[in-house]
Each structure stands twice: as C-alpha cells, then as structure tokens.
Subunit: 602 residues, 2 copies
C-alpha cells in the first residue's frame, strides 16, 4: 500500500529561503514561530500524517462514510484518528491563544496542513471546515457565543461546518432562501435545506457547530439580505454541558467521485418547527463575513492541489523505481530496466516534481504575505502584503487545484494499466483531487475574482507591482547565470523574461477590456488565471534557482539539493513556462471565437 | 438520466465533405459504401445507440460485471442488449463478406463505432476485441481455423479476446512467458497467466474465442520468439457444436476506476494440464501479426476519446441550458439566467465542441486513408494513403484519448458541484475515459511510435508530406478570407501558418536528434504527439472552414451549420492552436531539463 513521507527538507527550503520564515518571526506576534519551532512541528506533523492519517486514506475511500436514519458513521479507525488529532492539538495550531490555541502564524501551520492533506484529504476536510467556523466566531461572534463554543472547537472536542449552498444557490449565494425567524429570547428559528455540507454529520465528536447562512423575515433580496447564524447540533447549556437535540438533521449523504471518507451531507433545518440559532455579528452582513473568511478557506483548498500532487508524485516515483519493463534506450544488449530509466517516464516525473515545487513556493509565499499583512509593524507594509495575498489567493486556489488534477492524472499514467486498478491507489488521488477545482468557488469563480476584484477594480496596481517584482529578479538571474557553468540559469532567465512580457500584455488586455466588454474580459479569465499560476510559479522557481546558485558558489549546504532546485526550474521553464505565450494570445484574442456562436447552436 | 443523440449531421459533414466518402465509394470493393447507404446505417446505429446502449451505460457502471467462482455475470440488461447487437448485424459490418460480414470500408463503419462508444463505452469493448480476434484469423488463420471459428464470430454468436499482457509483460511484450507445447495432433497445450483481458469471461455468449500470445519450447528470446494461438473456451466439434470445456479460466476480475461494465479478467491457462490451442500463421511471428492488427485497434481506441468527449459535451450543454445561476454579465437588473450565458461556461463548451470536431475530422480522415490504402486502384496512391494512415494512427490514438480525458473533466467542471456527484453521470465519463490513454499502448508508446517508426525511420518523408499538404491549404484559406466578412478566416489562416512553421521545426529537431541522442528525442515524443494532434486537428478544421465559406458564398445548405464550422475553427485557432509554439519549444529544448536530474534525487 502507498506510503507517505513528509517532504520536510523541501518544505524547510521554501519556508526559510523563499517565504522568509526568519523575517516573519521577527514581527510582533510571530516571535514564537522560529524556524526551530516550525521544524519541531513539522517533525511531529509528519509522523502523525505518515503514521496515523496516511494508512486510513484507502480505508476511507473503500468504506466511505455511511448514513443510516440520520446518523453518519465514519470509516473504521477514523474516529480514533480524529481523537488523536484533537488531543495532539492540531486543531489549535493557528487559533488565537485566548481560546486555547497556539496562535501560530499561517506560514507555520501551512506545512503540516499540507502534510495532513497529502496523507488523507478526506480526513483533513473536517478540521478545515472547523477552522472556518472558528474564524467566523472569532471575527464576528459576540462574547457570549465565543464563550459558549470556541474553547471546545479550538480543542477539537467539537467540529464545525459551513452551511452556504442550497439546491438553487451554489456559486450564486444571492439565491439563498433558508429562513431565520427571531424569537423573544434573542435567538432565531432556522429552517431550510442546505446541500454539500462537509462533515455536516458524523460520529467523531459529540457535538457539531454549524455556521449557517439564512435570511431574516424583513431582509432585502440578494446578497445584502443574508445573515450568518450559529446552530449547534446539541444545545449547549450555560455550564457547557449538552442540552436538547436541535432541529437540524442530516437527511442523506452524497455518493461522490472521490473523498469518500468525507461525508457530504444534505442538512435539513427546522423540520420540527425550527432549529435554534444565534446571529453572528450584524444582521444582513453574513455574506460579507463569509468573504472575510473566504481568503483563508480558498488558500486552504489551493493547498489540496499541492498536497495531492506531492502524494501522487511520491507514489509514481516509487512505482517507477520498482517496475521493470523494457531495456534502456541506446544501450545494446542491456537487461530489463526500471521504467524510471525511460525518458518519457522521467518527463512525467519531472513534470510532477517541478509543479509540486512551483505550487509549494507560491502557496507558502502567499501564507507569509497573509501573516505579514496581520503582523508587520508598518501599516504600509501590511497593506502591501495584504494586496499581494489577495492577488495570489485565487491563483493559489485555481491554479494549484487544476494542476493537482493534472498531476494526479499523470500519476495514474506513470503506473500504466496498474494505475487504472483501484487497489493500486493512484486512481484515488485523481478522484479525490477532482473536487478541489469545484468547491470553495470553482476555477471560473476564482478567475473572475482575479480579473475583477484583484485586477480591474484597482486598475491593475497589484498585478503591475507583481510584474515589477518579477522583472527585478532579472539582474540576480543574470548574475547567477554568469556564475554558473551550464546553460540552466540562462534558460530560466530568458523564460521568465519572455513570460513576464507575455503576462504584462495579458494584464493590459484585461484592464482595457473589463470596462468596455465585460464578457470578453471574462472569456479571458481562466486562461489568465492559468497564465498567472505558471508565471508566478516560474518566478518563485527562478528565485529558488538564484538562491541555489549562490549556495553552490559559496559551497554551502547540500549541493545535490541545490542543484536539484536549478534543474527543476530549468525543466519548468522549457516544459511549462513555454505555454505562457500561447495563453497570453488566448487571453488577448480568445473572446471573438468564444462569444460568436448563437446559443441555440451549441 | 443522461440522453445521447447521435450527431448525424456533424458526422455526415465529416464523412462527405472532409473525408471523401463519395470518392471512396468509387474505388473497387467500396462501391456499396454510398453516402445513402452510410446514412441509413447511421440512422439505424443512432437508434440502437440511443435507445438500447445508452440507457445501460449507467447500469453497467453501478452494477459492474460480477465474478463468482470462475463465471462472470454482466450487468442487468447487458446480455439482452448484446443479443440485439449481434442480431442487428453490428459485429459484421466491417467483416469480409465471405465469412458473413457486410464488407463495408472503415469509413462507413466508423460513425456507428463512434456512436456505440459514446452510448456505452464499456459495452463497446466486447465487440471491439472480437473485431481484433476476427482480423487476426482472417489475416493469418488457416482455412481450417477460419472454417471453425469465423462465421460464428462475425455473426456475434461468439465473442473474441486478445490475450497479450502478463504481469511482467505490459508495454514490453518481449517479456511474455506463457508457454505452448506442441501435441501429436498438431494442436498445442497452452499454459500461463494473462492479465487485463477485456471480456475474457462473460455470460453474453455461449463460447469465447481467445487469441493468445505464447512461446514455443524452442522459441528464441524476446519479441522474435512469440507465437499466436487461438484457444476456445469450449472446444468446437467438426459439426460446429460445442465440445468439452477447455482448460482456460477466469480467476478474477479487476476493480477499476471506470468501465465497470466491462469485465477485465485475469485468465489462467493450463491449470489442469494445458488449454488446447491452435497456432495462427507461422511460429514465432505472433508479435508481427499483432502489429498488423494494432493499427486498427489503436484507431478504434482513439475513437473512444472522441466518443466520450461527444457524450460529455452533450451532457454539459444540456446542464448549462437547464441550470439557472447568477445574472447575465453587463445586464443591469436582469433576472437569473441559465449558466450557458456566462462567458466561462461558453468557453468550456466551445473548448469541448471544437475539440470534438477536430478529433472527429482527424479520425474519419484517417479511416478514409486506411480504406484508400486497401482499395485504391493505383498502387502508388495506396502506398501514399497507407503511409498517411500509419502516421496518423498514433496521433488519433494518443491525442484523442488524452483530449478525451480533458474534455470529460471539463464536462464535470461545467456541472459544478453536481459534476462530482455520481448520480449526475458526468463523473462516469471521466472515469471511463481515463483508461483509453493507457490500454492498446500508452500515450508514451504511441508517441515513441510516432517519432520512431513514423518519422525517424523514414527520414520524415510522411511528416513532411503532411506539412506540405497543410501549407497548400494556405491559398484556399487566403481566398476564403478574402471572400468573408469578418476576421475569422484570416485568424484561422494565420494560426495554421504559424502552427505549421512551429511543427516543421519540431519535426526537424526530432529527425536531427533521433540518431544522435535517442533519449533526448524520446523526451520530445509526447509533446510532439500533442503538437501534431493540435496541428492536424486545426488543419482539418481549417479545411472545414474553407468548405463552409464556399457554401455560404454559394448560398448552399444550412447557413447556421456552416457558420458554426467557421466559428469552432476560429475558437480552436485562438484557444488551442495557440499552444503549438510552446509545444514546439518543449520538443526542441525540453531534453536538457528532463534528463539532468540524477535518478536517486527523484
């Protein structure tokens, strides 16, 4: 069965040398997140991921979560693993200290988050949604609500959920119809049906705390009439003990392509008169609160693409070393060899490896920006970091998840016929990965966010600033190329320069078109997102290559490790950044063909 | 549940206007394949596909084929559907008249083959493998073997299988170990284990005729020591009645990602002393015979990519018309609209539609070339057509199957969250499509065939001839562009010209490198295959656009239909052919990065 080993050395490189963990730990409130502490967390997290979560991944896939008369039973071993997870303090790692959390910055928790997702994506979704619910309460909950719920949620004793989607309201939350009727005691009675509720019901904890979007009786239509409520599965008494069962029930769970271990629930509120809920923050501002949390939730789903790719890569490498087939090209009379010797297998493995490195780099750098936006002493630096993070989030979410699907599919391909057999395990990664480009906003939604809120609305300020940063790397690349023996760094330098020029053209097109032809701009959205993913990934790999070259020149560190960084960046330049020119063309010229066909002729 | 409607009008266009069915039916031996007859076959085939096969697709997926103590039971309704299939004469359509077939050319049978694959891929595999077994016997079987087996196979009374793969011999058939020991009566006793045997055992027919690769006791090692045998499940008496059960058994079936309805069998030969088999053709020439059939088998699997994409496209369009979500961009105060109004949904649907048209065009044009290679009166024309078909087959197989996976995945994406729910049906197409890029030679194997046997071995003669044909279209495109109102044709012309130049560079690189750096050439193989798929698809769409423009200018035919051809070609130019420059770069420059990393550092 498939093993998982946390890629700690690669994580350390990105944390310390690309994302600036050292700098971050000098900012107020981040002092505890020293490289040493983060190393210790990664070591523990890696053990838990490999030892406890990874072996349960296939168990969850085969057994699934089971629904019976309103109860949901998770797969064998999952409840116990969850208890170990909670007891290990893993829920608390990024939560505020005042509610029992460890208060560590995002960058410090991101590597273990990646590990848990690699090890067992379906398992990781419960904690991820709990995190979202905790954040909602921390940000907008009253002191009373915080006191009632937060400690137990942070301790992992209770899990949380996010209830947004309804059958008619998926990407379009303006269409939410669930109702909340105020009661004399200040609470509300919630009714309506919610779908696609991850871990809406399960047997791992004694209570589940639902965050629910619903409308007050007098609410305006559309997005400005949605409020956020907290609805516990069991009422919570003032002493913290559990009270009556609330009127919220799981009426069925979905039969899905993947993440079988994660129950995706249809939740019914108020079948017996109404589920008791409490307003979070102010009335009619629920969607606004959701958007505050959405950045982090989208970041977290973006990590899924990275995490699945890493797992698929590890599995593919292992198979490619073990599987013997054919003889080595150009070697006469040689015996059978492991398929890793075949150039096309290497090409696939390098494609996976280089994409993993690109995704990890942009994700961790974005996490560091989120932390800087919270913690930097200087307000202007905070604002700059926030703008950068806002710009990157749809790219991390959209590009990493789309890439994760491709990489998981490549992992199947490396296995040949065995890849198609479920027992092998490679196919599960493809099935699991497929959801990540859909939930928490589809790739189209991310791309619309990128070109709209993150580019056009601010006249491209951040996009141009990012392009400026990329251009400023050129001098360092020139220097590194001059100091290096081979052509790798010169190729990386040219690929980045060409890509940045192409990216700039694409950005100019979107800025010019958004106000004049909104549909044309939106045809360009997903190609733009893909382009930006590749260019940002290539940029970070180029940074890594510069750093690696300096280390090699200085004779510092593990030379093989640093040489590898240069080689993967070189591969990415020729095999992936080479697509950027074409994507820029599609951004700038793709609307006419896309919009010309009469709707009836599809 | 998902409907399927055979896209007959589109098929007619490709058959008659791109692939030259009219010309073909003037060749000796093809006279019967008139457009009228082919229309009639398509009409009947479309009814059978939509009415009988399509509704059973999901039944097969959910129930799967079931193994129990050596017997395999197909899903409910499948046995009956198979009998209708056989009685309808669908097995016989392309088989020689002397064995009860209809003797129709490939081009005439290709559209119904596409329909059956669209309607129910897992079902279609039984007939496809039977076809392969029939061809083997027709080409190399003795008169005695033909008399014993062919009539019933052509009539669909018995099915056939191809037994190549063994656990240690997948892509590398040189490693086949199954044994064949000659008996005094001229038969052989076969023993060994075969895996991945499609329809190796089932309940749809009373007998199954296995074609099996095995080694004679004195056979040389490697590919030159493999012989081909025919091994019936039940012995066949001289009067055609069934005799004793032969010593070949299905010991298990695989649990697969998709095509659940198709039993993928582990077959054990000779557990009780040896399965009786008969040598097909000469000893030690089995692999050579397999290669003769491989062209057609690979073509047929290539069609699967097209067929699944068509089905996924139909489903996505239907959902996009029905699903209401959000308001129309740029329309203030408008109501909720069907998602087909959203530019990114259109982009996805256009991506699917244009790829379907590109795939169908290259597949049918290749079918016509296979027929021309058999039937043309002039030997030089036959040779030219054969070379073209040989060149196109790995492209049809490799590119259409890889594209089919992408299109099925896009189909899931159009459905949003519902796409991930198995009941919707979109996910099945993705699961089913995934195998097509693996079996009958992985994409890597196809790509190696393309750059090796089909390019380098002949010094690029055919590749250059194809490029020459593409270049000669430029004059017609210029004329069509001059006669048209908009810019579509001018854009198509430029995209083709640029792509052809990039393709030529890539071909020159492979020709120059194959003899000097075989590994570098093989790194380029899959990017080259993808490049060629896009360029050949774009070429055929450009041909279609020229034809359409002429029709529009002449005021002939359905103007909407012809305008659509121009629009899809335009879309393909900006969204797909735009990738060709980048792929050409990868072909020419991708080896250094791919081969640099020490194997231990993966």
């Amino acid at each position: 069965m498939s093993q998982y080993t946390a890629p700690i050395r690669d994580m350390q490189f990105v944390l310390n040398e690309l994302a600036g963990l050292g700098e971050l730990s000098s900012m107020p409130g981040c002092e505890e997140a020293t490289p040493d502490l983060v190393d210790a967390i990664m070591e523990e997290g890696g053990k838990f991921a490999a030892g406890v979560l990874a072996p349960l991944n296939v168990v969850g896939d085969r057994n699934g979560a089971k629904w019976d008369a309103g109860t949901v039973t998770t797969a064998p071993g999952w409840k116990d693993a969850y208890q170990q997870f909670a007891e290990g303090g893993w829920t608390a790692i990024g939560c505020p200290v005042e509610f029992g959390g460890q208060g560590l910055p995002k960058l410090a928790s991101t590597p273990v988050s990646e590990m848990f997702k690699s090890a067992n994506l379906a398992f990781s979704l419960g904690p991820m949604l709990t995190q979202g619910a905790i954040e909602a309460l921390v940000l907008r909950g009253s002191d009373e609500l915080k006191a009632k719920f937060l400690d137990k949620m942070v301790a992992g004793v209770w899990t949380g959920t996010m209830n947004l989607t309804e059958p008619q309201a998926g990407s379009d939350l303006a269409a939410v119809r669930s109702k909340a009727v105020p009661q004399a005691d200040g609470s509300y009675l919630i009714s309506g049906q919610k779908i696609f509720i991850t871990y809406g019901e399960h047997d791992m904890t004694e209570n589940i705390i639902h965050l629910v979007l619903a409308r007050l009786p007098d609410a305006p239509e559309g997005v400005k009439g949605i409020s956020l409520f907290v609805v516990p599965k069991f009422m919570v008494n003032d002493d913290g003990s559990l009270g009556a069962r609330n009127d919220v029930h799981c009426v069925s769970i979905e039969h899905k392509l993947g993440i079988h271990g994660s129950p995706t629930c249809v939740m019914s509120y108020g079948d017996k008169g109404g589920a008791v809920g409490y307003l979070v923050g102010e009335a009619n501002r629920g969607l606004e609160y959701m958007f505050i949390m959405m950045n982090e939730a989208r970041f977290s789903v973006g990590l899924e693409g990275l995490a699945i790719s890493e797992r698929a890569y590890q599995k593919a490498v292992q198979y490619a070393r073990e599987r013997t087939q054919g003889t080595e090209l150009g070697v006469k009379g040689g015996g059978k060899v492991a398929i890793i010797k075949h150039p096309d297998i290497r090409r696939m493995l390098m494609t996976m490896k280089s994409h993993v490195e690109a995704m990890r780099a942009i994700a961790y750098v974005t996490a560091a920006a989120l932390d800087t936006a919270h913690c930097h002493a200087d307000a202007a630096e905070r604002a700059k970091a926030q703008a950068f993070a806002d710009f990157m989030i749809p790219i991390v979410k959209g590009w990493c998840t789309e890439t994760g699907i491709e990489m998981a599919s490549l992992g199947v391909q490396v296995h040949g016929g065995m890849g198609y057999i479920e027992e092998t395990g490679a196919a599960q990664y493809l099935r699991d990965a497929r959801i990540s480009a859909i939930y928490e906003g589809t790739t189209g939604i991310q791309a619309n966010d990128l070109i709209g809120r993150k580019m056009a609305r601010e006249g491209g300020i951040t996009a141009k600033a990012v392009i400026g940063m990329m251009r400023r790397l050129d001098g360092q690349l020139a220097e590194a190329a001059a100091g290096s023996q081979g052509e790798h760094l010169a190729v990386i330098r040219k690929a980045l320069a060409d890509s940045v020029t192409a990216a700039e053209q694409a950005v100019e097109y979107v800025l010019a078109t958004f106000g004049t032809d909104i549909k044309a701009a939106h045809v360009a959205a997903v190609p733009m997102l893909k382009l930006m993913g590749i260019v940002c990934g290539g940029w970070q790999m180029a940074r890594a290559a510069v750093i690696a070259q300096r280390k090699l020149e200085a004779g510092e560190g593990d030379a093989d490790f640093y040489r590898t960084k240069i080689i993967t960046a070189r591969f990415f330049a020729d095999h992936v950044m080479s697509q950027v020119g074409g994507l820029s063309h599609t951004v700038c010229c793709g609307a006419a063909g896309a919009m010309a066909l009469d709707e009836a002729l599809f």
